[in-house]
């Protein structure tokens, strides 16, 4: 007994865990993204801990559900900083929650690895301060909007786009980006319509798009309402292609829209296909550990980015040889060894002024087919085994204007 006790205390002394916060919506309309992200994070942590942890210490996750509510995010941020004393935080699915929470970590000098929220200004909130603690490994809207426009207008030759966006921060910021990206091609949308979260009838919006002779519908919203758009089109007997932000890949869009949702296309950083050995082992381990329905990851992009965010942080902690916020941040801005992730292999993903790991050359187009997301273009699938690495000169992204204070 005494020996056992001594062993336990001895172990806990030697291996004081490194606490990392995980914040996301694990319940509610955005939960398919939040839960997949969390599971990706858990998988990465398990692998790292099995291999001996970081700095010889195991990583311990402190998971909190922000319910996609800004005020919950703020409470959680304070709890993670003051009570749990985390060394870093990963997560944030909703742009609004990220914007509301990040300033607390900025003040406490704790790095944030934003792995899903796509709002362009998420990493630019503190551009006016000497140090910025917010990093991101997700494709931001300034990449996605031009990609959507490129796909609809240039690749597929549509001329009369209609925009349907929800009334949240996410939808309306995305709509602005879409309008800007269309303007660069000299195109004005024939209809710009809005809808609310929980709306059950999209007839008016769709009729306006139809009457304006739209030949494609560009969307910015989340799963359940996007499904209502697809269902509304079936009802009106008016079917034009849907191209939209990456949320068209959400399981609750695919399931609720059913056959009417097939063919929708969206930018994706990861598609659940074993195109590289790393991706194959990720998919196999994920399915084994979490056993999702029909072997389909609810939101593969969130899972992959969640997984990668932990490896990026672990690499930085290792390089810094410390768990102090400023040292981790400095290491993130100057990562020496490449980090092999699921989305890409990260060679110097961040610099002092560039906190975005994903550039416009990395995402590909996915398409809903047979109830899951597949590569929209066979060519993309063929070249997927060649990993696209970050290219700061990649064409297609719009310049992000820093938030004016």
């Amino acid at each position: 007994m005494a020996i056992a006790l001594a062993l336990v205390t001895g172990l806990s002394l030697a291996a004081d865990p490194i606490k990392i916060g995980v914040d996301g919506p694990f319940t509610g309309g955005s939960s398919s993204m939040g839960v997949s992200m969390r599971d990706g994070v858990r998988l990465a942590v398990e692998e790292i801990n099995k291999a001996g942890g970081a700095l010889g210490r195991p990583i311990q996750l402190v998971e909190r559900d922000d319910e996609a509510k800004n005020e919950r995010g703020v409470q959680i941020a304070q709890e993670l900083i003051n009570k749990e004393k985390v060394v870093a935080v990963v997560g944030y699915i909703n742009t609004g929650v990220a914007l509301a929470s990040e300033r607390f970590f900025q003040e406490a000098k704790i790095p944030v690895m934003n792995n899903v929220a796509t709002g362009s200004i998420v990493t630019h909130q503190f551009d006016d301060q000497p140090e910025n603690y917010v990093f991101r490994n997700a494709a931001h809207d300034s990449i996605q909007a031009p990609m959507i426009v490129e796909e609809a207008i240039t690749r597929r030759g549509f001329k009369r786009p209609a925009i349907l966006a929800d009334s949240t921060n996410y939808g309306q910021l995305g709509r602005e980006d879409l309008e800007k990206a269309l303007a660069l091609k000299g195109i004005k949308p024939v209809a710009i319509e809005k809808f609310n979260i929980k709306d059950v009838d999209m007839t008016a919006q769709l009729l306006k798009a139809k009457e304006a002779n739209a030949d494609v519908v560009l969307t910015y919203g989340i799963g359940p309402e996007l499904a209502q758009i697809a269902n509304g089109m079936t009802k009106l007997g008016w079917k034009v292609p849907m191209v939209g932000s990456w949320t068209l890949a959400m399981a609750n869009y695919i399931d609720n829209a059913g056959p009417g949702g097939e063919g929708a296309r969206m930018p994706q950083t990861f598609i659940q296909e074993p195109t590289t050995p790393k991706r194959q082992s990720f998919i196999v381990s994920y399915l084994k550990m979490f056993n999702p329905k029909n072997s389909r990851i609810d939101s593969p992009v969130s899972a992959a980015q969640g997984y990668d965010s932990i490896y990026l942080l672990a690499a930085a902690i290792k390089q810094a040889g410390s768990t102090e916020g400023p040292k981790i941040k400095a290491a993130l801005e100057d990562l020496q060894a490449p980090v092999e992730g699921v989305v890409t292999t990260y060679h110097k993903p961040f610099t002092k002024t560039d906190h975005e790991a994903i550039t416009a050359n990395i995402p590909v187009f996915g398409e809903v087919k047979g109830g899951k997301v597949v590569y929209a273009y066979p060519a993309d699938q063929q070249r997927a085994s060649v990993i696209q690495v970050k290219d700061v000169n990649a064409k297609g992204a719009m310049k992000v204007e820093a938030k004016k204070k």
Binding site: G28, S32, D201, T203
Partner: protein
């Protein structure tokens, strides 16, 4: 013209969804002057229980009576726990808080049992639209309209013809006098709550294939239905139907002709006007309250 027809169809379908929920408000108001603010949650519970039954392999049509029985049970529970104590001590507002509280509890329970994601309710009818005077309509939308009207007619006939219905009217007119006449007013009120939640649960499985099913589906719908009940009048079954159709068409027409950003506004403006001009509702009987 085609556009207008289409907007009217969708407006009617949407309005009838609101009306079936609003109907439940009217049922309890008629007997006890109280409302079940958890009506939206009763609807949600009905839809989720129905979804579970369908998942277990029960046929959609066979599932409906089971869900109705569940709804009646749930309504009885709400009345016993939330409303009866308030009526007993003649509290004016106690029932408001307790029905809201019960609604929140039901929602939380549902979130834990069924999760918080929106689920698809398999449609019992074909999902391809049919043409009616040139505009498209889903078979399920027709079923909602028919089902809602049939349910309201059934309850109205029951209230008017049966001895129970007479008891309801008597209870509404003067609770104490009815009691002295030998009517078990407590039972009448409990029964009206059971009936009200039953109609909500029925409405839930009726509309679930059109909306999505989930713990939060009741919130917005319950609120819209409340507006319908106010516009139509809390004492008139006919008024509820017309109120629902008015609000539904106002929403779709505003969305198309003005802006989708403003589609909820005209309905609420109408609500304000009705409250200012005819507080009993467009079709409600004006009751003189002696103080």
């Amino acid at each position: 013209m085609l556009i207008l027809t289409q907007l009217v169809y969708s407006g009617i379908a949407l309005g009838m969804i609101y009306a079936v929920i609003a109907f439940g408000y009217q049922l309890t108001f008629q007997t006890s002057d109280t409302l079940n603010f958890g009506q939206g949650d009763a609807l949600m519970l009905g839809a989720l229980v129905g979804l579970t039954l369908v998942g277990l392999g029960v046929n959609y049509w066979l599932m409906i009576p089971l869900v109705c029985a569940f709804g009646a049970l749930q309504g009885t529970l709400v009345e016993r726990i939330g409303v009866r104590p308030a009526i007993k001590i003649k509290s004016e507002f106690g029932w408001i808080m307790s029905t809201i509280a019960l609604g929140i509890i039901f929602k939380n329970v549902a979130e834990n049992v069924w999760g918080r994601d929106d689920l698809k309710f398999p449609s019992p009818l074909p999902e391809s639209p049919i043409k009616l005077f040139g505009a498209n309509v889903l078979p399920m939308e027709i079923l909602v309209v028919v089902g809602a009207v049939a349910m309201m007619l059934a309850v109205e006939v029951f209230n008017r013809r049966s001895i129970y219905g007479k008891a309801v009217v008597a209870t509404f007119n003067d609770r104490d006098a009815a009691k002295l006449m030998g009517i078990n007013t407590g039972f009448v009120i409990t029964f009206s709550y059971a009936l009200s939640s039953m109609s909500a649960a029925f409405a839930g499985v009726l509309i679930a294939p059109l909306t999505l099913t989930g713990a939060t589906m009741g919130a917005v719908l319950g609120l819209k239905a409340f507006a319908v009940a106010i516009i139509g009048g809390l004492t008139s079954g006919m008024g509820i139907i017309l109120g629902g159709i008015i609000l539904g068409i106002a929403e779709t027409a505003t969305g198309y002709y003005i802006s989708t950003g403003y589609k909820d506004v005209p309905g609420l403006v109408l609500l304000l006007i009705v409250l200012a001009v005819r507080p009993a509702g467009l079709f409600g009987k004006t009751a003189i309250k002696k103080v």
